[in-house]
């Protein structure tokens, strides 16, 4: 099926490439008013209107002529690949995945630039990157050369979310701090009828919750971590993992771990609501990120604040339960490890912004583009606010509490903001400096819940050369091994065999490449 599509795509690309390139050049010649023309791509919440307010705003302010390519976000990767195959590369190319970025860089469709150029063209942006991570730009180097700027995303740890009303019914008041205490609570949640309906229909935890157990052994199975020798090793094959699996195996056979844990808790790929948690099947989850459990604050930066998905959905069923949700800390395991997986400010999951190879020899234009990117995302809170929400006084304004109020109610919808060229259209690259501006309550909440405590990040921040060859196979091997050990269809000692297989099926090669990369970064 895939193949047919791709063949079709390539065929269509072949047929259309001449026609398209013809159109492109004509369009370019139409309005040359001395302004630098920049073709632009980004993640779009909705197609941007012709003559959109915000595009005009930035065009006038920065003396450029920005042409946003309306590519639907859901099909972005396919569509942009098709355009590139047809010879059309936007000046500012938004690349959502690290794998595509690496491929494009190797294929030679991206302009190469240096750290010094970033420093010279956009000093504030450069400074922000350096402040975030000394190696921020190095993470995007492919064969030692820089082709793209990484997007910055706030770091979020997995949550440790408990149903407070269940704990109350079970006579527990203290949130677990150690794995033993955690185990006791999980057993009670499964055995002692926490929902009080008289039937045994609850479990302690499910697919997301197992990460809390892995974390108590200091492991995130999908992540690379540093061992005591300063080398990168893959979390999923560490000896401690065997202990974690042994515990989960016991919980599974005792009916504490939801037998359906192999099916993701997520309602859908794009949702972060935990279905079993909201449906009252489990009393604990570590699914998603902590803000998916965020309460609604009266005093946020926007007049109308929102509730995290899980709280919102649970409220529809049981308002008391929604208010009772408690966030705990990662629990301490038998070896003193304590942690939980977390996203990275700059990781392999963050997007990249690159530039067409046509700009390689057009330093003037490249410089201008850097200026645009820096002005919008890195110079001031006002600019960023404008880029995200629209023009103050036209689309929104502050109320007496200094909160954002949209002057037309429709702009509360991000799709409406995207249509005028705000929302994410211009802000793929933006400093995180002003993220907490006006969100004192939320900052306080995150501090109170120690939302960053014990966060384990993936130490590997690049796509390895052989990942495309071995990645899927190894992932399959790993998930099958874990499931068969936990459900008891294979002995616990199968873990050792799995580690051997993992190493010989490409894991060794990946480890070697990971360490080569790691040395280069250090």
């Amino acid at each position: 099926m895939m193949n047919k599509k791709i063949l079709g795509m390539i065929g269509a690309a072949l047929c259309c490439s001449f026609a398209l390139s013809g159109c492109g050049s004509e369009k370019g010649q139409e309005n040359t008013g001395g302004k630098t023309q920049i073709s632009w791509t980004a993640w779009l919440g909705a197609p941007v209107n012709e003559n959109a307010d915000m595009i005009k705003y930035w065009n006038d302010l920065l003396d450029v002529d920005i042409d946003v390519w309306n590519i639907e976000a859901a099909n972005y990767s396919e569509t942009i690949a098709l355009k590139i195959a047809g010879g059309e590369i936007p000046d500012v190319l938004y690349i959502p995945t690290m794998a595509s970025y690496t491929k494009y860089a190797k294929d030679g469709i991206l302009a190469e630039f240096t750290d010094e150029q970033v420093k010279e063209y956009a000093p504030k942006m450069y400074e922000t990157y350096k402040k975030t991570d000394e190696n921020a730009l190095s993470y995007r180097k492919v064969d030692g050369k820089l082709y793209g700027l990484p997007a910055l995303t706030t770091k979020y740890r997995r949550p440790m979310a408990y149903r407070g009303d269940w704990m109350e019914n079970l006579g527990e008041t203290k949130l677990p701090e150690t794995l033993d205490e955690f185990e006791t609570l999980m057993y009670k949640s499964a055995k002692n009828d926490p929902d009080g309906d008289g039937t045994k229909n609850t479990y302690g935890l499910s697919a997301g919750g197992v990460y809390a157990v892995y974390g108590a052994y200091g492991i995130v199975p999908e992540f690379w971590m540093e061992n005591e020798n300063g080398e990168l090793v893959f979390g999923g094959v560490q000896p401690k993992m065997k202990e974690a699996l042994a515990l989960l195996r016991k919980w599974y056979s005792d009916g504490v771990l939801d037998p359906e844990f192999i099916v993701s808790e997520k309602q859908s790929a794009s949702s972060n609501m935990s279905t079993p948690f909201v449906n009252g099947k489990i009393g604990f989850t570590a699914n998603g990120e902590d803000w998916h459990f965020k309460p609604k604050f009266d005093n946020s930066n926007e007049a109308v604040d929102w509730e995290g998905d899980n709280v919102k959905e649970l409220r529809k069923i049981d308002s008391h339960a929604a208010d009772s949700i408690r966030l705990g800390l990662p629990v301490k395991g038998p070896h003193g490890d304590c942690g939980l997986g977390s996203s990275s400010v700059i990781g392999t999951k963050s997007a990249t912004v690159s530039f067409s190879t046509k700009l390689q020899n057009d330093e003037k234009k490249l410089k201008k583009i850097f200026e645009v990117l820096e002005t919008i995302g890195f110079t001031s809170y006002d600019n960023l606010l404008t880029a995200k929400n629209g023009i103050k006084g036209v689309h929104w304004d502050f109320n007496e509490k200094n909160q954002i109020v949209y002057l037309d109610e429709k702009y509360q919808q991000y799709t409406e903001r995207a249509k005028i060229g705000a929302h994410t259209v211009m802000t793929t690259l933006a400093s995180l400096e002003w993220n907490n501006e006006g969100k004192e309550n939320e900052v306080e909440w995150r501090k109170e819940t120690k939302a960053d405590y014990g966060a384990i990040e993936n130490k590997l921040k690049t796509v390895l050369e052989s990942e495309g060859v071995y990645g899927v196979e190894l992932e399959k091997l790993r998930s099958e091994a874990y499931i068969s050990i936990i459900t008891g269809s294979k002995d616990l000692d199968y873990f050792d065999e799995f580690v051997r297989k993992w190493n010989t099926s490409g894991g060794e090669q990946l480890t070697k490449e990971a360490n080569e990369w790691y040395k280069g970064i250090k």
Binding site: M1, M2, E260, K281, T487
Partner: protein, 312 residues
């Protein structure tokens, strides 16, 4: 008269080409379709050469370097290849065995119904699932078949142990076959129903006069009349054995049933997710198509041996 013209025009006449000239206007109307196929189905086939190349956007299809059979070698060498290949064939075979005769039987049964309204209602209901996408059905079946779902509640009521249908290697393939049957039975029966309406009622009348009952009529009139359609549909079905139903499996499978449910297209999809490896997926696609065409030839040849119907 005709014989003499044939003699005169020789090859041009024998090959039948003259008829295109004779019906010029009609031939012209055929032209757009031919052009459509040439441009969108044949010209684009050229892209399949990237299966033998190390494809790169910048160098294009022609400029990318040749790598011989490297992509195919990678496919055969990967640890999971034979597992997913076997799963594809086994699941398709199960689906063929159940899914092929079922619509024929269904069409014959429907045909025997007399009541106009009842027949129409049954027909419409049986078509409906065809129009639902697997994304929706996947969610539906996950609920229905989950441990707390209605089917397991029923099993518990009659004193049986609950079964985790979608997470148990023993049941997963059956779930695939049954759900696919349920979804497609009505829709696939349409072609047979159409063929059934073409049977001359006089045949039935004559059979009745000779004292043939319903069953005899079905065996000696209905089924033989359907043989041409059945043959052609069978050739198509065999040809598509290698094509798994990506949408269905992708929406129903999970890691616990990889060993019985992971098929070529889902495996390939996961590879595509990590890397945009067009050349590799093209190689897999080409391999599948070669198998499909060989299967079609074999079935067509065999079918023609036994009766006179075939695709060509």
């Amino acid at each position: 008269m005709q014989a003499s013209t044939e003699h005169k025009k020789g090859f041009f006449y024998k090959s039948g080409l003259y008829r295109y000239k004779k019906y010029g206007a009609l031939s012209l109307m055929l032209l757009p379709v031919i052009i459509y196929y040439l441009v969108f189905h044949y010209a684009s086939m050229y892209g399949a050469v990237i299966a033998f190349k190390d494809y790169s956007f910048m160098k294009g299809i022609i400029g990318s370097p040749w790598v011989g059979l490297a992509n195919f070698r990678r496919m055969f060498m990967s640890d999971s290849f034979f597992e997913v290949f076997r799963n594809t064939l086994v699941i398709s075979l199960y689906k063929l065995i159940t899914g092929f005769p079922a619509p024929i039987l269904f069409a014959i049964l429907l045909n025997e119904l007399n009541g106009g309204r009842f027949k129409k209602t049954v027909q419409t209901i049986s078509y409906l699932p065809h129009f639902l996408s697997w994304v929706i059905l996947g969610g539906m079946f996950m609920q229905l078949l989950s441990l707390g779902g209605p089917i397991n509640i029923f099993l518990k009521k009659i004193g049986l142990d609950p079964v985790f249908f979608l997470g148990d290697v023993r049941y997963f393939r059956s779930v695939l076959v049954i759900t696919s049957l349920w979804k497609s039975i009505g829709w696939s029966s349409i072609i047979y129903l159409a063929a059934l309406t073409g049977i001359d009622p006089q045949l039935y009348e004559a059979a009745r006069i000779d004292g043939a009952g319903k069953i005899k009529q079905i065996i000696h009139i209905t089924l033989p009349s359907l043989i041409p359609v059945i043959t052609i549909m069978f050739i198509f079905s065999v040809g598509s054995i290698i094509n798994d139903d990506f949408d269905q499996i992708f929406n129903l499978y999970n890691e616990a049933v990889y060993s019985v449910g992971d098929v070529i297209s889902t495996y390939n999809y996961r590879i595509g997710m990590i890397n945009n490896e067009y050349e590799y997926s093209t190689a897999v696609g080409l391999f599948k198509n070669v198998i499909a065409i060989v299967l079609i030839f074999i079935t067509n040849f065999t079918a023609k041996k036994f009766n006179d119907y075939g695709i060509w």
